[in-house]
Symmetry: C2
Subunit: 166 residues, 2 copies
């Protein structure tokens, strides 16, 4: 069975026979798969009237555990966006009642963003559906294959997650 990356590598090999393009077999697949995954996730979120960026922020809060509260700074580091973007996102989530801002009693510069009950309900439902959908996407792999894949991906990821040079 062939995929688009096989065709892509073949085309490069024909055009640049001087180069060893073997790395593309792994890394182009990672990028393309991530792209398809984004679309699939978006489709799950629309069923919950939610967008990807909302899910990202709400899950970060949800994962934090009770009282489901983090500073904007921690949120932007968790979701890998800039501070301006995070301010904008919190504004909109607050206007739809999914989170609430309050001053940080420990630090007068700071703010705490807390998931409302409505926000928690929404994100829990969306997350459950997302995991189900992702399980379907992995349907073609045996449990052993999944473990192998996870492990190989981890070894690619570790350098990024340890080095601050990311």
């Amino acid at each position: 069975m062939e995929d688009e990356v096989d065709r892509l590598v073949e085309a490069w090999h024909a055009e640049r026979p001087d180069l060893d393009v073997e790395p593309l077999h792994v890394l182009s697949r990672v990028s393309r798969l991530a792209r398809h995954l984004d679309r699939a996730r978006r489709a799950v979120f629309v069923a919950h009237g939610m967008e990807s960026w909302e899910f990202d922020v709400l899950t970060a809060l949800r994962r934090a555990g009770p009282p489901y509260e983090l500073s904007p700074g921690r949120l932007l580091r968790a979701t890998l966006v800039t501070s301006g973007t995070m301010t904008n996102r919190i504004d909109r989530l607050e206007s739809t009642g999914l989170v609430r801002r309050s001053p940080d009693p420990q630090d007068k510069r700071g703010v705490l963003v807390r998931l409302t009950d409505a926000g928690r309900t929404r994100v829990d439902a969306a997350f459950a559906d997302l995991v189900d959908r992702e399980r379907e996407l992995l349907g073609s792999l045996s449990p052993g294959d999944r473990r192998t894949l996870a492990s190989l991906l981890r070894s690619l990821l570790v350098p990024f997650d340890t080095d601050p040079a990311a």
Copy 2:
């Protein structure tokens, strides 16, 4: 060795012990790795005074082989962007002299976008560097591991690349 996804899965398990979040081990890693990969690629491109979107378009033309010419329609399908985006990209690439637009003699609605000599030189140099950099990123994996990984990723990708439901 642990990565961020191990911590993420652990956090979810603590908060939602009712859910089987095993799919995250594979698919969250795919997304996160793609994100890091984007940054790494961007770093390569800046060394060539190029941005990611430029590289995407130029490589699509380069892969097509002589005369390095494709229609905007084929380009937008190859790069998965909308038509408005592709018009804008071609405009900018044309203004920097990396591509040239000409009317399609076969179809008066159509346009053909061709890589200039300057464009070809630039993209060839950037591509060679990119493959080198990607080879480094795969350094922690044996050749056998790389083949295994490529093969497992392919089986996840095939459904997307065959079904039109992407």
